[in-house]
Amino acid sequence: MSAVDPDQDVSSLFEAPPLAEQERMIEAMLFATETPMTLKQMAARMPHGSDPAEAMVHLRKRYEGRGVHVAKVGEGFAIRTAPDLGFLMSRDVKDERKLSRAAIETLAIIAYHQPVTRADIEEIRGVSVSRGTLDLLLELEWVRLGRRLMKPGRPVTFVTTQGFLDHFGLESARDLPGIKELRAAGLLDNRTAPGAALGEAEDGAEDDAEQEDQHSTQDEMF
């Protein structure tokens, strides 16, 4: 309650906020809470003298017949979707998982080097690519098969999709920064580069140290 304005504090010594205001308050709390809230919990947060029970009667009435309603859950209250509209929510259910390191590296290589063959990916990563990794990327529709290369064996290639661009908020895969740009933008840890720490200045000027890093590594790497 640190951000309460002083006027309110003073007025609360005299009287509770008007009922309509209390209704707004419990509406906001019920909306934002992660678990059902009891009237007692609400009252504890509201200005002194508030009566959430009465406000609750009004709020529940207000939501009658709406797309969501105020449900009583044990001792508490919670806003819930109207039962007849559950079908709208069914697609919301997601089990979100992180991509494995192998998968994200493979995806990155495809994004930067497309069209790229499986052999190319293995060459760049230095490890073999498991079937499951590519299958997953294909299944996610972030990657699809591109044209076969006109070389012995006519190997199949992989390219990224529109779905890939959508997921990563890119307008085109061309907009991805190259290694040099990643480094220049400070997005790449360049401290591991050998010989990078030979700068002269030892004063606290942080920018200076960083700049030294950038220059020396860029020269070496490219």
Binding site: L99, I104, A108, S128, A193, E202, G204, M221
Partner: protein
């Protein structure tokens, strides 16, 4: 851009303004570390004048900055190269502003240069103020809030995978720079040691969630020759036993004469 009325020949005298400037400069030198580059220092110096940036005298500001740099040198504070470059540029600008332009002089006039510096300072200050106003706004998760209980209907369960753009770029950078930093095992002579295999396996094992034959774990550089394969297989096999003992991997063989398979031990 206006500048003050010193006659072209007059060397800057230690007048009252200059002393004031030195005092201001000295108080700033103390917290040199707090500045983010020369432009930041210039902006701070111009603030000590308490005048509108649009009316600031770039010539005075240049002198103030040069005094600041001198002061830093006197106090034996080491200045980053950026600060010295700016000092040299301002000294050059000062001379351009004070001396009459040479007819054959190429390049921008002193006035243009000064005007641009004034613009840069105004722009930086404008961005600072804008940043302040932005951060002072009501913000999600602090002043206003999103829905706390999102719907979890347990039908049509669908697994989705997430990855962010940053992770994608970092993954690429990791792949591309790994080769630069990792010793190339292939150059280390004829024998691939168990220690090398162990180090390599610990590095890559996390990628192998599924059963893969031992061959998949061999370093690429050693796969191409029979001798390379032999030493790599022996070392990798020994290392796999060690890792199995430590509980990091699982080993599997369908039958006694089938290839040995390995995978990272699933987190339970």
């Amino acid at each position: 851009m206006q500048h003050d009325g010193l006659p072209p020949s007059a060397a800057p005298m230690p007048d009252a303004g200059d002393v004031e400037a030195r005092v201001a400069a000295e108080t700033m030198v103390v917290d040199l570390g707090a500045y983010e580059g020369p432009l930041d220092v210039l902006l701070a110096l111009s603030r000590t004048r308490k005048v509108d940036l649009r009316e600031i005298s770039i010539l005075e500001l240049a002198e103030q900055y040069l005094a600041f740099v001198e002061e830093a040198k006197r106090l034996r504070l080491e200045l980053a190269a950026d600060y010295l470059v700016m000092a040299a540029w301002l000294a050059f600008l000062k001379s351009k502003l004070l001396l009459p332009p040479e007819p054959e002089d190429e390049g921008p006039s002193g006035e243009d240069m000064a005007a641009h510096l004034a613009f840069q300072l105004q722009r930086l200050e404008a961005m600072r103020n804008a940043a302040g106003r932005l951060m002072a706004r009501d913000r999600l998760g602090r002043h206003f809030f999103a829905r706390g209980m999102t719907e979890t209907v347990t039908q049509n369960r669908k697994v989705t995978y997430s990855a962010t753009l940053l992770e994608l770029m970092q993954a690429y950078a990791r792949v591309k720079t790994r080769a630069d930093y990792e010793p190339l095992h292939v150059n280390r002579g004829e024998v691939y040691t168990m220690e090398q295999a162990l180090e390599r396996l610990q590095h890559i094992i996390g990628d192998f969630v599924e059963w893969s034959t031992l061959a998949a774990y061999l370093p690429p550089g050693l796969r191409d020759t029979a001798a390379g394969r032999r030493t790599a297989t022996a070392a990798t096999f020994a290392a796999s036993l060690e890792l199995a003992k430590r509980g990091r991997v699982e080993l599997w063989q369908d039958d006694y004469d089938t290839p040995l398979k390995m995978r990272v031990k699933p987190a339970s």
